[in-house]
Symmetry: C2
Subunit: 307 residues, 2 copies
DNA sequence: CTGTTAGCGCCTTCAG
DNA sequence: CTGAAGGCGCTAACAG
C-alpha cells in the first residue's frame, strides 16, 4: 500500500493516525523493506566495491577499516574484494558496476586494468585511470625527500632505495624520484633496488638488498612496512647494528600502532584524511556533484628507534 | 525475452542458432543482468555479511582475507562490517538479513547480541549463539596447554596469563581454563590478568602486567599478537632480557608472516582451515543442507625466539 | 524449441 | 489524505 511506503520514507502527506498505525504494524511484524526491490526501483544499491590487492597487510587493512567506516557514515555498505593479483577478480569491478550490484568502486590495487570508462563512479588511490577518475594520494615526493634528508642529517653517506616497482604507472613511483633527486642534491651515490615483486616475497627482496648493497650502505629507505621489517630482521641476523651501522626508514609505519619493536622511523600517511577524501570524492561522483580529480594528502615523518 | 534468460542461465532448450544470436547481442551491447532484479526474483543475493570487531589487526585481517577468498570460490561476495564495538552496527546484521541484503552472516565479534533467531543463516567463530548456530573454533584448550608446558620445559617457574576477557561467553575462555589446569598440574602458582579491555589498549594492559607480576614472573602467555608485542616492547624498555629472564608465548602469531622481529613463539591457528569450515557450514546452512554445529580446528605451537 | 505472461516488493504517479 | 495501478529487470511456467 502506498501509505506504508510514504510512512517509511517520510515522503508525502500522511495523517498522524495512519502513521501510528503503520508504525505499530511495522514493529509488530518486524517489517523491513526488501533492498533488492528498492534497488531495482531506485537503480541504486547503496553499496560500494572496495578493491584491495591483499587484506592481510598492515597498510591495506588499516586503510580498509577507515574506508569502511567513512562509507558507513555516508550510508554506504562496503563490498570488499581482495584481488590478489588475479585478473579475473580485477575485472569483476566492471561487471559489478554493470550489474548495478554496487554504485561505485574504490581501487587500491596496483594491477592493470586495461581501460576504464571515465564516466563510471570510480576512485583510486595512487593511480591514474583517466582525467576524470579521482585519484587520492599522499605527498609521496615531499615526504620521501624529507625521509632521505633525515637519513643524511643522521650521518648516512650511502643510502639505498628498496621498493617494489608498481606494475602500472603509479604515484608511488614519485618516492623513487624524490630519492634520486635528494641523493643527487647532496652529492651522494644512488643505490636502487626497484623491481616488481609480489606480496609475500619481501624477505627474498630484502636478501637481495643485502647481497647487492649490504656491505656499502649505512642507510636504507624501504617502501613499505613488511619490507622494512624484513630488512631489519636480516640486519640483526647478519650482526649489523641498527641504527649504529645501518639506519632504516620505512614508508607507512602502520605497525607502530601494534607496539611493534623496534619502532621503525617511518613516513606515516594520514589514513583518516585519505579515507575521507576517497569516500567524499566517490560519493560526489556517484551523486553527480562536483568532485576533485586529484587530492594530495600530506604525510609526516615519525622518528623511531631505527635512525 | 525468455530465450535470452535461458541462454544466460543455460537452462531449458535453446537452438544453437538463437544461442549464438543472443551471445552476439550480449557481447555487442555488453549486457549484464541486473542483480537487484535477479535477487528480487530469486530471493537470494549471493552476498554474505562478514562482521569483525576491527580490521586493522593482524588476526582479523588475515582471517577476513581467507574468508573473502573462500566465499568468492563459492560464488558469494563479501560485505564487510567493522563493528568497532558499536551496538548499532552489531544489530545491523539482523536488519540486513531481514532486508535480504545478505543471504547469511559470519560473526567474528565478541560483543553482545541479545538473542538471535537460530534459524537464520549465521555462523560464528568462537561463540555460541544457540544450539543450531554453527560455531567454528580452534583447539584453544589443548593448544594453550601445550604452550604452557612448553614454557615449563624451558624452565619457567612463575608463569602468567595475560588476556582480554570476552564480553560474552566465548571459546576463547578455554585458554584460561587450560592455563589454570596446566599450572595446577605442575604445582605452580597462577598469576592471571584477565579483564575486559578494548582493542587499542594493549599497551596499558601490558603495563598492568608488569606492575602486577613484572618482578616475579619468568614466563608469560599472551592471548594475542598485539598484546605480546606490547609485553615484549615493555620488557626491553625495562631491561628485562627475552627470553633469558622472561619467556613469551603468544596466541595467533600472525605477524610472523610479516617478518616481525623477534619471531615470537606462538600458538598459530590454522586460518585456512577455519575459513574453509566457516564458509562451508554457512553455505550448508543457507542451502538448507546438513551442517556441523561445532567444528574444532587444531592449532599448533611454532617456536620462535622468545622462549 | 520460443514468445508471452505473471509476479518478485517497492515506490511513484494519478485518481478519487 | 489514501487506495489502486504500473513498472523497475528478471525468470519460471505455460501455451503455442
Amino acid at each position: 500500500m502506498g501509505t506504508v511506503s510514504r510512512v517509511l520514507n517520510g515522503s508525502g502527506y500522511v495523517s498522524e493516525e495512519s502513521k501510528s498505525k503503520v508504525d505499530a504494524a511495522v514493529k509488530q511484524l518486524n517489517f523491513r523493506p526488501n533492498v533488492s526491490a528498492q534497488s531495482l526501483k531506485s537503480q541504486r544499491s547503496k553499496v560500494v566495491g572496495l578493491f584491495v590487492p591483499v587484506l592481510n597487510h598492515p597498510f591495506f587493512c588499516a586503510l580498509a577499516e577507515k574506508i569502511e567506516h567513512r562509507l558507513y557514515e555516508n550510508g554506504y555498505r562496503t563490498l570488499i574484494v581482495c584481488s590478489q593479483g588475479r585478473q579475473e577478480k580485477e575485472l569483476m569491478v566492471l561487471s559489478m558496476l554493470a550489474q548495478k550490484r554496487v554504485d561505485g568502486a574504490i581501487f587500491i590495487t596496483h594491477y592493470n586494468l586495461s581501460k576504464v570508462d571515465e564516466a563510471l563512479p570510480i576512485v583510486t588511490m595512487d593511480r591514474h585511470f583517466g582525467k576524470s577518475v579521482p585519484c587520492i594520494t599522499s605527498d609521496n615526493y615531499a615526504s620521501t625527500w624529507n625521509a632521505i634528508e633525515h637519513l643524511i642529517e643522521r650521518g648516512c653517506k650511502e643510502i639505498a632505495y628498496v621498493g617494489g616497482k608498481p606494475a602500472v604507472e603509479s604515484e608511488v613511483s614519485k618516492r623513487l624520484d624524490a630519492y634520486l633527486d635528494a641523493v643527487k642534491a647532496h652529492g651522494l651515490t644512488p643505490h636502487v633496488l626497484f623491481e616488481e615483486f609480489e606480496h609475500g616475497k619481501e624477505y627474498e627482496y630484502a636478501e637481495k638488498f643485502f647481497t647487492l648493497y649490504g656491505d656499502i650502505c649505512d642507510g636504507v629507505f624501504c617502501s613499505g612496512d613488511i619490507l622494512s621489517n624484513a630488512v631489519y630482521h636480516l640486519a640483526i641476523r647478519r650482526k649489523i647494528a641498527v641504527p649504529q651501522q645501518l639506519k632504516i626508514v620505512s614508508y607507512d609505519g602502520n605497525m607502530r600502532d601494534w607496539k611493534q619493536s623496534p619502532n621503525i622511523t617511518s613516513v606515516v600517511q594520514d589514513l583518516d584524511m585519505i579515507a575521507l577524501h576517497i569516500v567524499k570524492e566517490l560519493v560526489n561522483k556517484i551523486e553527480h556533484k562536483e568532485f576533485r580529480k586529484y587530492v594530495v594528502v600530506p604525510a609526516k615523518l615519525i622518528v623511531g628507534e631505527t635512525t
